[in-house]
Amino acid sequence: MNEVKSLGAKELNKEIELNVNGEKHSLSVAPNKTLLSVLRSQLGLTGTKYGCGAGECGACTVLVDGKPIPSCLTLAVAVKGKRITTIEGLSQNGNLHPIQEEFVKSMAIQCGYCTPGFVLITKALLDQNPNPTDEEIKQYIKGNICRCTGYVKIVEAINAAAKRLRKTREVKI
């Protein structure tokens, strides 16, 4: 992608390696690029979305070493060497992850813009707490905003996914 040199500034780019969805990428990245913008522009992984740029809406959620973070408030250079998972990394061998399947079955998707963020926060929640109460679910996902569904179907999907994962005792990816 284009490297921008501002008026009279020195070369600021850093050569870093990013581990995304199990694949290693050698990139030349300016320090002021967020992980969100590098994922979308330099790696073409557009499943992670810009919603607010302020860490409040959850649309930019990715997992770093399994933990959900706001990629709009994270510098790409700060996560080199860490294990990054985006929505694109969830399905395996062309098969949807059970969480993804339950979101589809529960009709928890309308416009779909918030969906990648919700699926990843659900993954993080169920990895940590396989049997959450409704209250625990709502507290955990409160950083993800949906303007279409009213959340009821989303919580249903999360409960269905939790039940299904408990049955199959899936191993953490």
Binding site: N2, V4, G47, G51, E88, Q100
Partner: protein
């Protein structure tokens, strides 16, 4: 029937759910085209100001900047603007609200475009601003659109029966002043468009996440003087990341991404930030309603009178339609023989009010139902009961109301009882 069907009566997952849940489906900002440039707006920091001069030289000499546009640069390109966007210009020399688009830039990437915006020097002459619609209605208020006679852009009225007789017949009269606020749609996907003009064929292809692709096509064709047969509007693959009415207009970025693409012969994408969403996309129409209801002893409504002021903001998107609907829905599902409502739509130096789910109905219904609750309390009648006494019942159907509307549905009564 006990027959088992394969599809009827079943919950069938939507086709687009799978690419949505994998993140594969493309929203507008997920799209890139070869040679694509990124556009950004320079916005007025003042609610009401004239642009005296714009110095674009520093922005133009920033490496990576391909075009800087000012209102003068595009005036000759503009044809007829669509009726629903009364006076909504792609770039303006008179800023009418904080966020009004004054200049635009196209550059090789978003960061350069944003840097270039900071380098444009605009000299403004601040003008007195009017933020309150009642103030804006007064003679002598700052004139927001000089071509218009006043800040009152539209006036509508609803009449039925004889309102004076109605209130004379009323045993109880209740009135109050209500204000309905200015909510934003806050779609999770911000607004934007991607235009690609082919200089050889003269064809414009325009991607947007839009609720009105056909209107947009005609709108671009008329505004930019391109035959409609050469304008193709394509909704982004994923559709809208939320619409709710906010994407029911052609907006400045639609025109500007197209104009910049025409001038450069390259694709140009413009996407708004969240702050720009709040500042410069539309909201629901805030209203002030002074409303008065007259009821007989038995709780039946005999008269309903309102003075409604719609604050349409700096430009009149959809205002005539919202005003019409806020009048026609004012009586609600009730039998009201005498009605007198005046609606004034007024410009103010605030962000644009436009289409937002409900389209005038929520405001009308909120006020009417609140007043009915006040009446019920004042008369000592149960609030459900008072509605049952007034509602158009199933056995009345089809029912022509006092304002000549034909009512075909009356499910509310059952809903109320339940």
């Amino acid at each position: 029937m006990t027959q088992e069907f394969e599809y009827i009566g079943k919950s069938i997952p939507r086709l687009e759910s799978v690419p949505k849940v994998t993140g594969a489906i493309k929203f507008l900002d997920d799209m890139t085209l070869p040679g694509m440039l990124y556009g950004k707006f320079l916005r007025s920091p003042y609610p009401h100001a004239r642009v005296i001069s714009i110095d674009t030289s520093k922005a133009e000499s920033l490496p990576g900047v391909k075009l800087v546009l000012t209102p003068r640069d595009i005036i000759n390109m503009l044809g007829k603007m669509p009726a629903i966007e009364q006076n909504l210009y792609p770039l303006t020399e008179k800023a009418r609200y904080v966020g009004d688009e004054v200049a635009a830039v196209a550059a090789v990437d978003e960061e350069t475009a944003e840097k270039a915006i900071d380098l444009i020097d605009v000299q403004y002459e601040e003008l007195p601003a009017v933020l309150d619609p009642e103030e804006a209605m007064k003679p002598g208020a700052p004139q927001i659109h000089e071509e218009a006679k006043s800040n009152i852009v539209d006036q509508k009225r609803l009449r039925a029966g004889n309102i004076e007789d109605g209130f004379k017949e009323a045993d109880y009269i209740f009135e109050d002043r209500f204000q309905v606020s200015k909510p934003a749609h806050v779609c999770l996907e911000t607004h934007g468009s991607l235009s690609s003009y082919d200089t050889l064929t003269g064809k414009l292809t325009h991607w947007a996440s839009t609720q009105i692709p056909y209107f947009l096509c005609l709108g671009l064709s008329e505004a930019l003087n391109i035959p409609a047969s050469k304008v193709r509007v394509i909704n982004a693959e994923a559709g809208c990341g939320g619409g709710f009415g906010s994407r029911a207009s052609a907006l400045p970025y639609d025109y500007c991404s197209a104009i910049m693409s025409i001038k450069l012969g390259k694709p140009v994408k413009m996407v708004l930030s969240r702050e720009e969403e709040f500042m410069a996309t539309s909201t629901r129409h805030p209203m002030i309603r002074e409303s008065k209801i007259g009821l007989r002893k038995d709780g039946t409504i005999v008269a309903y009178k309102e003075k409604v002021i719609l604050d349409t903001g700096a430009y009149g998107t959809w205002v005539s339609w919202v005003a019409a609907l806020t009048l026609s829905t004012a009586p609600g599902p009730y039998k009201i023989p005498n009605i007198w409502i005046d609606a004034y739509s007024v410009y103010t130096n605030t962000s644009v009010s436009g289409a937002f789910r409900g389209f005038g109905n929520p405001q009308a219904s909120f006020v009417r139902e609140s007043l009915l609750d006040i009446a019920a309390k004042g008369m000592g009648i149960d609030p459900v009961e008072i509605r049952l006494r007034n509602i158009i019942k199933t056995e009345d159907l089809p029912y022509t109301t006092s304002t000549d509307s034909l009512c075909g549905v009356a499910v509310l009564r059952n809903a109320l009882i339940r």
